[in-house]
Symmetry: C2
Subunit: 330 residues, 2 copies
């Protein structure tokens, strides 16, 4: 397999991207390769720094970078030599198997649509994000922010594509699907959620009904369906609250010699809690509904996150998620 990685995207690029690739290649199979797309001089010098000289990490030069501040569609159309456009073209041309980037979410989405194209019958591709559930396996939230405004049929599509991803990539058999709503009873919600409920109810999916966000930490469904505005709010709020809790716990323990002693008794457990909250472990967020395997990594990804995304993307390709979605949506 050829894992194509945007080496210029994210807060800590290209350093952590290259470092993550070096970590990943050691765990990949003998005939796997990683293609780093980006400024070949900078990427090359980092590889050199790490003393890496194997041929299994290749560089494809891209002279341009799309930043977070640029209008995505315009940037993808104009910056033909950007790492995102070049990386996606490698997948489109069959030279790469999966593309991943920690760069501009908008640009990765726009690139997926414009370069790879939508799968036939899919109205709106979705960004699906793994969501930490403490003490359980993660859920998958779709849409996680790609489509702020949705129609009911979009939510049904997200549910179909998300279920396939959960089953094939995360091995969740016959995954349950829940719809975020402002009450659990049928008939609750906005016109969007009411109509989506009916579509999901009639579908062949394992639909378990409405769920309130209060229940998200109780592992109520494998696949959590919502519009991208709400999905974005849920994911970012979870991140913000997670950071706040960790900050408060740290503050609590650093308060005095006495509390510092207290910390020693539970530090392993605290580390474990932090670990579970950490998006980095889960690998990137797939963009489902485009004609190719694409993953968006968190902008603040470190080398471990990059490594995990590369390693966990194997099943996305090997299980032919894109092909199965194509069949299912037809």
């Amino acid at each position: 397999m050829n894992f194509v990685v945007d080496s210029m995207g994210g807060d800590n690029a290209p350093e952590v991207i290259v470092e993550g690739a070096i970590q990943a290649i050691k765990k990949l199979e003998k005939d796997d390769i990683i293609t780093l797309v980006g400024d070949s001089e900078r990427v090359g010098s980092i590889l050199k720094e790490y003393g890496y000289r194997d041929h299994r990490i290749m560089i494809v030069h891209a002279s341009d970078v799309i930043t977070n501040d640029e209008a995505p569609v315009k940037a993808v159309r104009r910056k033909k030599d950007s790492s995102i456009v070049k990386g996606l073209n490698l997948v489109k041309d069959g030279k790469g198997d999966v593309f991943m980037s920690a760069g501009s979410t908008g640009a990765v989405l726009a690139g997926g649509l414009l370069i790879l194209g939508r799968i036939k019958g899919v109205d709106r591709p979705t960004l699906a994000s793994l969501y930490p559930v403490i003490g359980h396996e993660p859920s998958l939230i779709a849409d996680a922010g790609a489509n702020a405004e949705c129609k009911p049929r979009n939510l049904l599509e997200f549910a179909k594509m998300g279920s396939i991803y959960m089953e094939k990539v995360l091995g969740r058999e016959n995954p349950t699907v829940g719809l975020i709503n402002n009450g659990t009873e049928e008939g609750k919600g906005t016109s969007l959620t009411k109509e989506a409920y009916e579509l999901l109810e009639k579908s062949e999916l394992n639909f378990v009904g409405n769920i309130e966000t209060r229940e998200l930490q109780n592992a109520v469904a494998d696949v959590i369906i919502t519009d991208g505005f709400t999905g974005n709010a849920v994911i970012k709020l979870t991140e913000g609250l997670g950071l706040m809790v960790l900050r408060e716990i740290k503050k609590m323990y650093l308060d005095s010699p006495r509390t510092k002693v207290g910390a020693l008794f539970v530090q392993d457990k605290l580390r474990n809690l932090k670990h579970q909250f950490d998006y980095k472990e889960y690998g990137g967020a797939p963009i489902l509904g485009v004609k190719g395997a694409v993953l968006k990594m968190h902008g603040s990804s470190d080398a471990v996150a990059v490594r995990q995304t590369i390693l966990k993307s194997r099943k996305y390709v090997e299980e032919d998620v894109v092909g199965i979605i194509t069949e299912a949506i037809r």
Copy 2:
């Protein structure tokens, strides 16, 4: 002042409601009274149990109760002798100054609309909820769930009414107003948030722009504006995550004799963190935009929550929030 309290609403009614009233009356002024609306026999027997015999807690008998399962508007129309309908009528007739209930949110909202009526010029009254910000004073979220679908002008109204409440009741001078959106830059969002942004920008309010939910714990704005679907999702997710964190920390400490010892070093601080997360301390959520002071208490309120809501409702009345909103919206 006469504080009118629905003694039949909430998970633990009427016991905790009566208990909360007894706690509150001790801290109120000499000429204040509390009117408990509900089953006079049950309420009377609880008062007796507590040995309460002062005349400053009065009972107004209501033979009926509106439950959470009933269709709110229909229930308010039909159950003339319910505690919610009777309590609101006391305020409408000028016999009570403020009404509060831990019962059905929908019924309190519908009752506010049907019995007290909308303030002239207000399109949609809003349920505004105080939102815990750890280490800071709380923010106010409007709408907290009364209006799942909103027009841009509704969000502007919520902002105006919420700002007045924050200034008059919580003493927050020239309160800042933020709009929940899926990005901080102007021009981000759905058609609703884009148009609401423009209205807020042009208003005389202290508008600080878009805010992402990731920032809610950083005290970015005093008044947080959003549609009721998103507001509901944010508040319930915060509750769910708060409960999860407390559960995990408890589990962590109960794990072994060693960790139990660790807990002793920080238990005061943990209690303080829990306390800050606790909605109970903040008093109820005002329904702004109706012709009278109305507060919705959390369904799981205990006696402390009831007491706090009664005590904190004084300013809502004394500062004439309803009158000021009436002037401001005109």
